[in-house]
């Protein structure tokens, strides 16, 4: 790739926080770096990956609202986690976390357990158990 061909397709992926150095050849055939704000194909696959996350989150939101799953299911998807990762962050077993996805089991959880979850998601316990909050979320 020539330095003049280094793409500058801005899709706000870097949010103006930095520009990425791309190695390319200048007119004398010497490698040098050119800062780039992005490239169309890469932006496209990044968008697709996030699109995937949003679809899953929306699905989980619906399931929580219709009472099929506990709020944990929604926050897991929202934070791009899975059961295993949440288990590691809380220090619980995978199967324990899995059980807590059941709204009935979840409603009987003790305060300290709820606090563990709330801390991981950066919420208060009240916010975590309040399903009505999800109604306005996208």
């Amino acid at each position: 790739m020539k330095t003049t061909e280094v793409p500058q397709d801005d899709a706000n992926m870097l949010q103006g926080k930095f520009r990425e150095p791309v190695y390319s050849l200048d007119e004398n055939g010497n490698y040098t770096t050119v800062p780039s704000v992005g490239w169309e194909p890469k932006n496209e696959v990044m968008k697709e990956a996030w699109d995937q996350v949003h679809t899953k989150t929306e699905l989980a939101r619906q399931q929580v609202l219709s009472g099929l799953k506990s709020p944990l299911a929604y926050y897991i998807e929202k934070e791009i986690m899975d059961i295993g990762l949440l288990a590691k962050y809380t220090g619980m077993w995978r199967w324990t976390v899995k059980r807590h996805l059941n709204p009935k089991t979840f409603s009987r959880l003790s305060r300290p357990t709820l606090e563990k979850y709330a801390k991981v998601f950066n919420l208060s316990v009240e916010e975590l158990i309040d399903i009505n909050r999800l109604k306005s979320e996208k």
Partner: protein
């Protein structure tokens, strides 16, 4: 202890190379990012269908995190001290002690909670490297090689990223330079680095690695649409491009960065043939970018059936042939 260490921050494309290059610079060894990358044999290819991240098979253009680091310290004879901590508070205490002694300290962190990172890139990726160079008003001064300038993190923020969980959980892993040799043989280190890369790309007898891995991936890509359906197939192929163009690859899955290394090596070793090869590699990098363009199109039309998969798979075969020939020539050039 609030006195910052006089540390020169230089932005680089890739975090591991950048940290090594910046740390060595602090101790008076000036090596560019591509040089670190080349000596550490950072170029690789692997496709492991059974290893999945977020449910998608992993394709990688680099060896496992930490390997570049290990190789370069071995080849230059630099010794590093490394430590992990079970207790987060102890990990932070050890860092403070280091800073008080004026030692810039590198560490592994998770990206997801890294507050200054651009949001679209904040996935649960745990093998990011940065250097802590001091403290100011209770905040830590961070030299993150990906960023333009210095950043700051609070105690809690730094603790959180040092104890990110999941694959490659850093567990407070930190490292610093213990000893720098009075002199080292740069030429020998470069030759070793090149030979190792050629070996990795050409001779690993498992079909998932090196040139064989590219052919393997080609077969997989061809079968994606019929095996997985349009939506999933697009995700799977998109992942390849995300690995290839991820922050830090310097474009085209490190091919351009490796070219820059070969060009520098040509001067150090006085072998003009390496310069010719560096230009050739730029051409191969362009093919990788063409692959990304096709994939970008596939992903864009992700909900409709698409015939470009065959096209993409064929292109991978062309790339594999070219890289095979390339690394054979490179091997011959240094032996």
């Amino acid at each position: 202890m609030d006195q910052p260490i006089d540390f020169k921050h230089k932005q680089s494309a890739h975090c591991e190379n950048g940290v090594v290059s910046n740390l060595l610079g602090f101790y008076g060894i000036q090596l560019s990012e591509p040089m670190v990358f080349g000596i550490g044999s950072g170029l690789f290819f692997s496709h492991m269908p059974f290893l999945k991240v977020g449910g998608i098979p992993v394709t990688s253009f680099r060896p496992l995190p930490g390997i570049i680091f290990k190789r370069i310290s071995r080849r230059l004879g630099i010794s590093f001290e490394r430590k992990k901590f079970r207790n987060p508070a102890k990990a932070m205490e050890a860092l403070d002690n280091n800073l008080a002694l004026g030692i810039p300290t590198g560490m592994l962190v998770g990206v997801y909670h890294l507050s200054y990172f651009p949001d679209p890139y904040r996935f649960h990726f745990n093998a990011h490297n940065l250097v802590v160079v001091g403290k100011k008003d209770g905040n830590y001064l961070i030299s993150d090689p990906v960023m333009n300038g210095m950043e700051q993190l609070t105690y809690d923020e730094l603790l959180k990223v040092r104890y990110a969980k999941g694959t490659f959980a850093p567990n407070g892993h930190m490292y610093w330079v213990k000893q720098i040799p009075a002199e080292f043989d740069l030429k020998q280190a470069i030759i070793k680095g090149i030979k190792h890369t050629c070996k990795d790309m050409l001779t690993i007898p498992i079909p998932m690695f090196g040139v064989k891995g590219i052919r393997f991936l080609s077969r997989k890509v061809r079968s994606y649409p019929s095996r997985l359906g349009a939506r999933k197939a697009a995700s799977y192929t998109g992942q390849i491009v995300r690995a290839q163009e991820e922050i830090g690859t310097g474009g085209a899955g490190f091919r351009f960065m490796y070219g820059a290394f070969l060009q520098e090596a040509a001067v150090v070793l006085n072998k003009p043939v390496l310069r010719d090869l560096s230009i050739e590699l730029s051409g191969i990098g362009d093919l990788w970018r063409e692959f990304a363009v096709i994939t970008g199109r596939i992903v864009k039309n992700r909900n409709s059936a698409d015939e470009s998969y065959d096209h993409a798979a064929n292109l991978l075969l062309v790339i594999a042939d070219k890289e095979e020939a390339f690394f054979k020539k490179l091997k011959a050039a240094v032996s």
